[in-house]
Each structure stands twice: as structure tokens, then as C-alpha cells.
Point group: C2
Chain length 124, copies 2
Amino acid sequence: MQAECAGDAVKLNGREYPCTVSLAMDLVGGKWKTVILYHLKETSKRYSELRREMPDITEMTLSLQLKQLEKDGLVSRAVYGEKPPIKVIYQLTDFGKTFIPVLDAVTAWGNFILKEKGEVVYRS
Amino acid sequence: MQAECAGDAVKLNGREYPCTVSLAMDLVGGKWKTVILYHLKETSKRYSELRREMPDITEMTLSLQLKQLEKDGLVSRAVYGEKPPIKVIYQLTDFGKTFIPVLDAVTAWGNFILKEKGEVVYRS
DNA sequence: CGGGATCCTAGGGGATACTG
DNA sequence: CAGTATCCCCTAGGATCCCG
């Protein structure tokens, strides 16, 4: 497993990165993208379900992040209905599913950190 | 494997996150941190080696990122010598080494993306 | 119901120059 | 050799309100 980290740069969709790991982190980095992917991991969901399951994300940020995930091909969006109430379903694409092993590794590591040195802020 | 993504927030070093995956991504997110960790994966290295191996990062950004990685306990810094030329060695801490499986997963995924839909910008 | 428009700001990251 | 000091720009992400 040799990442392109030594001299050559890599390019995807017009964006350029110093290394493939950097490219990967750009697709799923930030505060919310992995969280969203985590919630879509098992099953497709509607917009309102995602909102309910992530109370702290604002509507604007949620739809913005979803749009970026869609643009990068990780998530697909399907609209049902013409007039309100309409229904919008989000799900992982085949490409998005290739991220699941990474997501599992990140999740396991995040939980490990929490156990070792973090704390839970109870809300319930 | 259940991440804390449903209601409760998590906290580490005063920073609060909606989910453990989000916490993990904050420690290693951004354009450079994973690249630096990748270069420190096998062996410890001096500052100048890191610089040589990552020609595109500026000195300021490199030392800033190293400082953050050190603060978050992923990397340790050791100084040898009193007066210039001094020698500074960076290496993964034990905690930093727990990130390696994740790094490998991210690297593999990044390489996969490159192969499927990216392109290499040759410099040599 | 599922967003968009607008405005705002914190900080990540670059450029250039200098130093113990 | 291994950084700092400044300065500056740009994007992620939040707040608030509005719409088909």
C-alpha cells in the first residue's frame, strides 16, 4: 500500500492534493460529513429523519453537507412527489459504500479515544 | 460498534463534538495532518526530513500542524543539542500509533479513489 | 416538507521575511 | 537547523428568516 505522498501530487474533480490520504480526508473531512455517512450506513433515510437524528446540525448545514456529499458521489438523492409534502430520500451510492470500512475504523478509533480520555455530555 | 451519535455529545480537551467520529476527524482532519502522520508511520524523523519529504507544505504550516498533533498527544517532540545546529526528532506516541489502522484504511481508500477516478500530476 | 437566501465569523492554511 | 512573526485570504459552518 503505497500512497502518492512523495513528490507527485494527485488530482480529483479539478482539486489538487499533495497525497492520496489528503484527497480522502477532503471528501469526508469536516465536522459533519462522517456523522451523516454514519447515519446513512445501514439504510437510506429521508431528510427529516436525518434532522431528527442529528439535533445539533442546522438545516442549512445539513443540506449543504448533503449537497457536497452528492457532488462527490458518496450519496444519492431521490425526490418523491410533486407538491408539498414531498419526500426526499438520501442513500449511499456504491462508491459511498466503499467508504464503510474506513468509517468503521474511524468509529472504532473515536470510541477508543472517548473511552481512554474523553467524556460524555449527557443530554437525555 | 455503537458511536455516540444519537443525542449525547462527547467532549475532549474542552472541545465538544456531536459524535465520536466527529471527534476523531477533528484530531486528524485538515489537509496535512494525515500526511504528516503517514510520514511518521514507520520511523521517527527530524524536522528537515519531514520538510524534504513534503515539499509543498510551508515551514510555518508544518510546524503549526506538528504542534497541534503534539498537543493532541499523537506525536512527541524531542530536542537534541543546545546551540544550532540543533536536532529535533518527531515520532508517533503510543496513542499516535493507535491511529495507524485508521490511517491504513484511509490510505487504501484514497488509493482506490485515485485508481477509479483521479489522476496523478507528475512532478518528477 | 425540504429546503434556499443572506449575513457573519473563527480559524485553517498560505506567502514572505526574519532569528536563537 | 529548526523554527517564529506578520499579514492576509478563503472556506466551513452557524444564525436567522423566507419559500415552492
